[in-house]
Amino acid sequence: MNDANPFDARPAAAPALPQNGARFLGEERAFWRLLTRGAFLLLVTLGIYRFWLATDVRRFLWSNTEIAGDGLEYIGTARELLLGFLIAIALLVPLNIVFFLSAFGSGWLSQLSGLLALVVLALLGQFAVYRARRYRLTRTIYRGIRFHQTGAAWRYAVCAIFWWAMIAMTAGLAYPFAQASLERFKLRNTYYGDLQGRFVGSGTRLFFRGVLLWIVVVVPLLFGLMLALGSIDWTALSEAMKRGGDDVMSRLEGAGLAPAAVIAVLSIGWSVLALALLYPVFQAMVLRWWMSGLRFGALTVASHLSTGAVYAIYLRFMWIALVAGVVFAIGAAIAFAIAGGLTLWLGKGVLTELLSTVLLIGSYVVVALAYSTIYQATVRLRLWKASFESIELSGIDALDRVNAAGAASSAVGEGLADALNVGGI
C-alpha cells in the first residue's frame, strides 16, 4: 500500500486538460473516508443510510470525472431515492401478497405460482434495471445539459430475459451477442441533449476475442460434469436411494459415485481457479469492447484500457484484502475470547446466548461490510478511473452544438431495483 498514490499529487501538478480524452480527479483518500463513514452508518441504521451513501458515491465519481475538459455532474438526491424506494415497496407489497396467497391455494394456479412469481419478478427486475438507468442518466449533467433515455422498459425487460435465458442455455456462449443486442437497445435510446447515442460494438468480434477464455474456463467444467454424470450407474443409484437403510452409503459407492465426485470436484476446481486468474482479462476485454462501441452523433470513442492495468487493480485489492483478513482474524479471536469470557462470567443463560449471538452476527456483518468497502475503494474506483482515462475521443466538435432536451424522471425504477436486489443502489 506504500506505492505512490497518483491521486495525492494530482491537484497540484495537474497535466494540461486533455481535449480528446477524459481524466479522473478524485482523491482516493477522500473516497475511503466517504465509504468507511458510510459503512459504519449503514451498520447502525440497518441499511436505511444506503440512499445517502449511494448518492454521495455517485456525486464523488461523477463530479471528479472530466471529459474533453469539462466535468460531469450528478444532481440526484438521496430524498428522491428514498421516495422511489417507498413507492416501489407500495407497488410490490400487493404483488407479494398475491403470490403468498396463491401459493396456499389449490389447483394448477398454486402449482404454477412459484414459477409464475419467478418469471414476473425477473421481468420486473429487468424493467427496474432499465428505469434505474433512466433515472441515473437524467441526473447526469454535462456542460449544463442533461442526458436522458427513451424506450419502453417492458420491451427491454422481455429482451433481457430472453438473452439471459439464451446465455444460460448456451453455457455463456451467447453472452457477446446478448451484450451487443442489449447495448444497442440501451444506447439507441440514450440521448445527450438532442444528440442520440448508438452502439456499434459487434457481438461476433467479442465472441471471437473471448471464445478462448470460454474454452479454458467453461469447457473443462462442462466436460467434467458430463463425464461425472456418465460414470454414475443411474439405475443402481436410484435403487440405493429407494431402499434406504444403513448400508445406503456402501451401495451409493457401488453406483460409481466416488469417481464421479472426484471428476466433478476436479473440473469445478479447475474452472474456479481459471476464472479467478482470467477474470481481469475478461473484464478488460469487455470494457474495452464496450467503450470502443459508444457513439454519440459524430463523436466516436476508442478505448486503450490495458489488461495489465486491470490485473494491477485486482492484485492491489487482493493485497489489501489479505492484510484486512489478518486484522479480522485477530479481531475474531478477540471476539471469541470475549464470548468465552462472558459465558464464564454470566454463566449459561439467556443473556449470554443473546450477547454471543449479537457478537457473532455483528462480526460477520462488520467483515462483509469491510470487504465491500475495500472492493469499492480499490477496484470500483480504480476501474472507473482507468476506464475513463483509457478513452480517446474523436469528432468532439459534435459536443459543442447540442441542444437541451429531456426531463428529469422519477426514481421509482431505482427503488424497484433496490427492493428486488437487482443492483439498484
Partner: protein, 367 residues
C-alpha cells in the same frame, strides 16, 4: 476583495462553452459576455445553487431554474468573494454537514422505531389479527400448510407408510382424543396423526392438524404423558398459534426483508434478527400452551404433571442447543411452572386403560 473575474458559462439551452466575465453586483452575480459586455444572466445571491465539483473549482447553478445553466469559476479570490456574498454557497461544507447530521439522527430514530415495531408491534398485531381470521380461512390455510409440512416431514421411505396406524392403535388414540376434545370444546374438529419420525416431538398446524411423532410415543411411559403433550398441542390450536406465527413471520419478513437490511451483510442481520425475535415470541406462546395443557388435562380427568415428567425425560436425551434460538423455554422452569399449576389431588386412574395404552404404544410397530 475581488468583485470581478472570469469564468466559464453554460447557458443550459446549448452545450456551447463560453468564457465570461463574472461581477459581484449588489443585486446578485452578473455574468457578462467578454467582448460586448452584454449581461447574460443575473443570479440573486440567495438563489445560487452550489454544485458538486472537483477540488479548486466552484460550480454554480440557479436553484429552481427550469434550465440547467452552469457557471464555473477557478479563480480562488473570486470564489472566496462569492462565498462571502452568498448564503447557499457552502465552501466549508458546514451547512452540508449540519443537514447530514439531521439525516443521520432521523435514520437512527427510524431504525429504533422499526426495531421496536418488530419486537412489540408485530406480535401485538398478530395477536389482534389472528382471532379475526375466520375459521374457514384458517382451515383452508391449514390444508395448505399441512401439505407442505407432510412434504417436509415425510422421508419417503417406501417400505413403510408415513402414517402409523393399526386398527387397535387408532381406536385407542381416538378414545384418548375424544376425552380431550370433549373437555376442550374447540370450534374446529381436530385431526391427529401419528407419523414415522424418530424425534420425540409433536407439532400443531393451523386448522387443527396435530402430528405426533413415533419417537414421542416410544418415549412416553404412561398414557397421561402422551395425553399431556397432545393437550399442550391442543393449546396451540385453541390459541390459534399457527395462524399467529404465520402472521408474525409475514410481518417480520416485511419489516426486515423489505424496509431494512438491504446492504452487504444485511442478510445475516435479517436472518439473525428473525430467529431471535421469533424464538422470543414463541417462549410466551409455549408457556401459554403449557398452562392450557395443564388445565385441559385436569378437566379431562388426566394427570397434568405427566407433561412435566415426559418433558424432563425428553430434555435428558436431546442436545442442549443454543438457548435463545430454541423454541421451548428452559425445561426445568417449564416443569416447575406445570407442577405449581397442577392441582394437588392426583387422579386415581390413568387416562387410558392398560389394554388401550398397550395398543397405542404399538401403533407404529404392529401391523
Amino acid at each position: 476583495m475581488a468583485t470581478a473575474g472570469t469564468g466559464i458559462f453554460f447557458d443550459g439551452a446549448t452545450s456551447a462553452r463560453r468564457p465570461v466575465l463574472v461581477e459581484l453586483s449588489p443585486e446578485g452575480l452578473v455574468v457578462r459576455d467578454p467582448q460586448e459586455h452584454a449581461m447574460l444572466v443575473r443570479w440573486p445571491y440567495n438563489e445560487l445553487d452550489h454544485l458538486a465539483a472537483p477540488h479548486g473549482l466552484l460550480r454554480l447553478g440557479r436553484a429552481g431554474a427550469p434550465r440547467l445553466a452552469r457557471l464555473e469559476v477557478r479563480d480562488p479570490a473570486l470564489i472566496a468573494a462569492i462565498d462571502d456574498a452568498s448564503v447557499p454557497v457552502d465552501r466549508s461544507g458546514a451547512a452540508e454537514r449540519r443537514g447530514r447530521t439531521k439525516v443521520i439522527v432521523w435514520s437512527l430514530v427510524a431504525t429504533v422505531s422499526l426495531l421496536l415495531a418488530a419486537v412489540f408491534g408485530v406480535p401485538a398485531l398478530a395477536d389482534k389479527l389472528a382471532p379475526l381470521i375466520p375459521l374457514r380461512a384458517e382451515r383452508w390455510l391449514g390444508e395448505a400448510v399441512d401439505m407442505q409440512a407432510r412434504r417436509m416431514l415425510d422421508k419417503g421411505d417406501a417400505s413403510r407408510p408415513f402414517e402409523c396406524g393399526n386398527a387397535e392403535g387408532r381406536a385407542a388414540l381416538a378414545n384418548l382424543m375424544a376425552k380431550l376434545e370433549v373437555a376442550a370444546t374447540l370450534p374446529i374438529p381436530l385431526e391427529i396423526k401419528v407419523v414415522r419420525r424418530s424425534e420425540p416431538n409433536a407439532i400443531a398446524l393451523p386448522g387443527g392438524h396435530i402430528y405426533v411423532f413415533e419417537g414421542l410415543v416410544e418415549k412416553s411411559e404412561t398414557p397421561d404423558e402422551l395425553a399431556g403433550v397432545i393437550a399442550h398441542e391442543i393449546g396451540h390450536v385453541a390459541h390459534r398459534d399457527g395462524t399467529r406465527s404465520i402472521l408474525q413471520s409475514a410481518g417480520l419478513s416485511f419489516l426486515f426483508g423489505m424496509l431494512l437490511g438491504d446492504f452487504v451483510g444485511g442478510g445475516a442481520v435479517v436472518i439473525g434478527a428473525r430467529a431471535v425475535l421469533q424464538s422470543s415470541y414463541s417462549r410466551d406462546v409455549e408457556s401459554a400452551a403449557d398452562r392450557y395443557g395443564v388445565d385441559l388435562m385436569t378437566r379431562a380427568g388426566g394427570d397434568p404433571r405427566a407433561l412435566g415428567a415426559v418433558l424432563n425425560r425428553i430434555a435428558g436425551t436431546t442436545h442442549p442447543g443454543v438457548e435463545i434460538l430454541r423454541d421451548h423455554p428452559d425445561t426445568k422452569a417449564r416443569v416447575a411452572v406445570i407442577n405449581t399449576l397442577a392441582p394437588a389431588s392426583q387422579p386415581a386412574r390413568p387416562i387410558l386403560e392398560a389394554e388401550e395404552w398397550r395398543a397405542l404404544k404399538r401403533i407404529c410397530t404392529a401391523r
